[in-house]
Symmetry: C2
Subunit: 296 residues, 2 copies
């Protein structure tokens, strides 16, 4: 049980964490800090938070745990703001989608507090955002990756682990570098591919947004496969700008490797290599079936 939890940024991620912990009976009092008055009021109304605070010093007073759940690009600035008011025993954790940049920011701005800093990433996304999209069940059965620093204490890791487990998440640990490499492959690259496909198809149409789609528009013929493929292209542009820049080295390597595969397939088409094409598609289908069967 924690007495006082402070959530900075009460959107989908922070709000769902609050609702899940409350449902699990793991927290007494939740203070929300955020820029949008309207969003904070919604968080209050939904019962995600007990109190809206516009004053960091009083918000952080006697806090047991502080969750930083703003977009990744703002984390450094937030750390600098909270650092003067953090009490030594307060555990600070985050929910950023990239981890090396968060660790770097913490080394700059939370240098005296690293023992109690636990970088974390709940691998649960949605195209929705804001407190109104928050959901106590968002983390149920999802992965939560901790990337503790050498300085992070075992006790702080244990407490953050317990909180996420109370939200229903499967908690694992790895280095920040390994996290960023894996996420570049399974999340950041697919998002980039989906955003680009959506642009690629819609830019070729010359579609006037005030007109309903007609048979003159290629998008008129896009079906459920296209809809599912591009679902992640409905995600927040600001958030994905930040993620791509924060993880640009690993992501760039993934793009390069992927482009090589695309070029190889292009060559199979050019030389009419039906066997090679079928092998590519069959191994992909097998890999996907294996993945679906083995998913824990």
């Amino acid at each position: 049980m924690i007495n006082k939890l402070v959530i900075i940024g009460v959107g989908l991620i922070g709000g769902s964490f609050a609702l899940a912990l409350r449902k699990a009976g793991k927290v007494k009092h939740i203070v929300g800090v955020g820029r949008s008055r309207e969003n904070m009021q919604r968080a209050l109304k939904r019962g995600a938070i007990d109190e809206i605070s516009a004053d960091l010093p009083s918000a952080l007073k006697h806090a047991d745990v502080v969750l930083l759940a703003t977009p990744v690009g703002q984390l450094g600035g937030i750390m600098a703001q909270i650092s003067p008011y953090l009490e030594p025993g307060t555990i600070v954790t985050d929910a950023g989608s990239t981890k090396q940049d968060v660790v770097t920011a913490a080394r700059s701005h939370l240098a005296g507090h690293l023992k109690n800093f636990v970088p974390a990433h709940p691998v649960a996304g949605a195209e929705l955002s804001g407190a109104s999209a928050a959901d106590a069940g968002l983390y149920q059965g999802k992965n939560l990756v901790l990337t503790p620093l050498d300085e992070t204490s075992a006790e702080a890791v244990k407490r953050v682990t317990e909180l996420w487990q109370a939200c229903g998440a499967h908690v694992s640990q790895m280095s920040a570098a390994r996290h960023d490499k894996i996420l570049a492959a399974v999340s950041h690259l697919p998002h980039v591919l989906a955003f680009l496909l959506m642009n690629h198809v819609s830019s070729s149409t010359g579609h006037d947004s005030s007109e309903p789609l007609g048979p003159d528009d290629p998008l008129h013929f896009a079906g459920s496969g296209f809809r599912d493929f591009t679902r992640i292209a409905g995600s927040s542009p600001e958030m994905w700008r930040d993620i791509c820049l924060a993880n640009r080295e690993a992501l760039s390597r993934q793009i390069d490797a992927y482009q090589k595969q695309l070029t190889a397939l292009r060559e199979m088409l050019a030389r009419d290599d039906s066997k090679a094409l079928e092998r590519v598609f069959a191994s992909a289908r097998e890999a996907r079936q294996r993945w679906l069967e083995n998913r824990s």
Copy 2:
């Protein structure tokens, strides 16, 4: 109402056509022709067909409509086989995912029958296949594209239109070249991208298929976005080999254009161009929202 419908290839596509027409009360007798005895028995049991025929001459006798619903790669051979037995009044149509190759095959193998040949493509896919996956509602609200030849009679187009409308499909017409260009963008390219992503991620893992996925495997951290993005990578390798080869010119052009976008984004990352990245992602999200809102 048609008296005798012959379906060659009673899988998901042919079987669903049969079930939908029967439900709509548009057909008296349906004859199925297919290579897999087991699949044909399932089609019979499900009531998709009334009769299994292993003898083309008698199957085609007095047929009103023949639907060719085999994989695209087999259509030329099937046309050559049925051509000697086709009666002049029998309408022949197909359900192939590409149309220029089907038109070329028809010009070779159904040269005397082009007046009654109506190339068609129901834009409705599923990863499932076989008669057991057939569904009377598969075409409800889906697009059906006809790409009639200059030789195709208005009467034949009208009859095929009515049949697909009875299945619940929205029927439109365009040239085979335009169809193939549009489908390369909204369907064939996304399938290729999904197959390649699945391979890209799974090949980098060195995952032993006999072991359950653990936190050492990147795929362990793939979430619902990845699942939806790669759904179409569960599609039939043989079918997609045929489609990619049948439409390789249009598809190659799409791959080239898409590679350019990927390269441009790679350069935005390299020069840390946060504004350009956000613009790319925002325009994709807007295009997708517009598409979802305007979808008829």
